[in-house]
Symmetry: C2
């Protein structure tokens, strides 16, 4: 399915152009149009009390349109956050221009921005960019890539994933692109009931070769756009997106710093099959989770300064919520992240991080495995070969598995290691 | 008052000896005896669900003795955490030996350990150390220094503070020593009602010269021992210590990683004045807070890899608890800490960190000052001279002041910057 991309689902066109917002010549304004027969959508936004103008406008538009979203307009290089009333005007203007391209109402457009906080958008450039993006729309792989590139900031890699489902003779495709590298600790709402759909992430790995990261890091945000040609009412999409986000985007952290601009949107064109049976909805939910988990994995792998992904899984906690809290506490501990960077089987840091999550945790009943090796059990260390486990941790992915043995709750969080490069990216530049 | 030290209050003797637990030849076993006429004490311990054997035994002894503590026995180099039943036996054995020296009951001894997690104490060395420490007890400055040294691990500096009060003709001294450098995010209980006593920290600064940090970082813990020759019942000391801890130790973070071994104890010998009036109690509370805040400041200044202290103050939040939550969210953001390291006036990271604290916060009403310069107001940036503010941040201390203008709650948190040295200390060694 490597040939599938964001525009593989029927009914979508997109583009990405360079409008001069990024310092390097690289797409920074993108348009994504839903031109399907029955366009519906759902979106989840950051829960940060400080949210950018496009988040405010986007929430409004989702409510006003009842989820009838026709277009997404996005810029990178400037977050349009902490920009007051002018910022709000600018976000509305972006929607107006995108609506003119799409031939829809302003409130059928979702705006997004990512980049530096506290600067007004250079609207002349943005306006020209949106108009130009309108002239280069298409459904090819190249168009999908241009849009995917237009949302990147400090990311070193483009992030995309897609899966195909068959419902009888009908094919349904789910695809997505995202961005995120630093200021990554998404907590997207509405908080769905998060029924775990049981799919597993494809687990893509970063290559060893290191690209050069663009300057001006640290305002990275998570943005994700998902497309599908299935047909489903907006209410159904809301449930699906909330559940998939909880199991993916809300379970990845680079630095625990929830951004002002985090957004995930799911757009359905209605060009193919209806999700009209419980079986279809379950299959769709599992496939959507798979796409979102792949995207989340790619965010962790491309975390600022990351050399490896850390995959933290908690089994048999008192509840799923408690398991996720424990996973997140471990993922957000700088001490754990540094130990992972140094391939140090320092399980004491992991167990103590689990204990500070603020939820029930009993070290005397738990077991801890590092890359499959049992290192701690029932409150006591288990002798193991330090050098061997350390060598096994010198890998693109390190698995931490905690079995709490106090209930049946499961949780998971993805993160990356903490390296000197994270400090370089986020300290060694001046505004 | 530079000549005051831990043993200046009447009624105390202490010592510190090298027993071979640390890799470098430096005191690692300490004894502190309260030989006053009416010894009373209070202690607060880590709230981490994973707590070390000495925490378990210490809690028991505080309850059994009703706060009649005669001695503290401490070792550094090994945390005696995650060591199961043998660890508990070892902690009890430490108390037994210290009790033999002090001529008291085992349950009148508070044990503490700090160092690496998951290794059994080398009890032969520890036992010899405690016996030897018993032979070198004294009340001189030298004895105070040896005890202060015996609790250090990755600390580069010895940490101590003291103040003197006069109640009529009577003098009361409050003194303290502490340790802490990494794995610092104390959350000591019992959680007192935390009435802010209004004193300010002396604000000591680190010298520019950098000492070499001992190997094997990352199991640092916070330990603090406070002595006074005032006379007060244990119940009164509990209230005083809880309040002072909330305004100091619980308001400092290096990496937000609450340790398994955090302990703060206040020992009163009863050799001088009684705290028998509300006025005396208030004066004592303010002085105790001053000592604890100085110690907390020294922890931030000596944070692993730290080059500067970051002093975060929140005014006019919806409540004191909310203000403290906001201060802590800012203090624990790696993005903020990296910006501080780079002297980058990146207020967007600070405002967005305030917004993710999970408590009411309205950026449209708040102001933010960096080193006294207004940089953000009412949801919008305020133009300022980047180069000038950046230059002002290139200092041993950076002050962040957020005025929420939504209530009357105040809060504060001290932290340090995040440098590459933090990563070096915590990643570049193997167990």
């Amino acid at each position: 399915m490597a040939d599938l991309h964001l525009l593989s689902p029927f009914g979508f066109r997109a583009s990405g152009v360079y409008a001069g917002l990024k310092t390097r010549q690289f797409p920074d304004v993108g348009l994504l149009l839903n031109e399907g027969p029955s366009p519906t959508a759902a979106a989840v936004f950051t829960t940060n009390k400080v949210f950018a103008a496009p988040i405010k406008v986007g929430r409004e538009h989702m409510a006003e349109s009842g989820g009838r979203l026709r277009a997404v307009v996005v810029n990178a290089g400037n977050a349009n956050a902490c920009t007051g009333r002018q910022g709000e005007k600018d976000a509305r203007r972006m929607c107006q221009l995108a609506a003119a391209v799409a031939g829809c109402e302003d409130w059928e457009v979702l705006p997004s921005s990512t980049g530096i906080i506290g600067h007004l958008l250079p609207m002349e450039k943005v306006e020209r960019g949106i108009r130009e993006a309108g002239e280069f729309l298409g459904s090819s792989l190249e168009h999908a890539l241009r849009f995917a590139d237009a949302i990147l900031t400090t990311d070193l890699k483009r992030k995309s994933a897609a899966v195909e489902l068959k419902f009888g003779k009908e094919r349904v495709t789910i695809a997505g692109v995202c961005k995120g590298s630093g200021m990554i600790g998404p907590n997207l709402s509405p908080e769905g009931p998060a029924p775990s759909a049981g799919a597993t992430a494809p687990g893509r790995r970063t290559s060893a070769k290191k690209a050069s990261r663009p300057k001006r890091g640290g305002h990275a945000t998570m943005l994700a756009y998902l497309t599908t040609d299935a047909a489903a009412p907006a209410g159904e999409l809301r449930k699906l997106l909330a559940a998939a986000s909880d199991g993916s985007f809300n379970a990845v952290t680079v630095d625990g710093h929830t951004s002002t601009n985090d957004t995930a949107a799911l757009l359905a064109s209605g060009a193919t099959a209806r999700l009209d049976t419980a079986q279809r909805r379950a299959a769709f939910a599992a496939a959507l989770l798979e796409v979102c988990q792949s995207l989340a994995y790619q965010i962790a792998a491309d975390g600022e300064g990351a050399t490896k992904v850390v995959d933290i899984r908690i089994d048999n906690a008192t509840s799923d919520a408690d398991a996720n809290a424990i996973a997140r506490a471990i993922a957000n501990s700088p001490l754990v992240k540094c130990a992972m960077h140094g391939s140090d089987p320092n399980w004491g840091r992991i167990v103590s991080a689990a204990g500070l999550a603020g939820v029930p945790f009993n070290p005397d009943r738990c077991t801890l495995r590092l890359q499959g090796t049992l290192v701690f059990k029932d409150g006591r260390p288990v002798p193991f070969d330090d050098a061997k486990v350390s060598a096994s941790m010198n890998a693109p992915e390190v698995k931490i598995l905690v079995d709490c043995r106090t209930g049946s709750g499961t949780g998971r969080c993805l993160t990356c290691d903490l390296s000197k490069d994270y400090v370089t990216i986020n300290a060694d530049y001046h505004t």
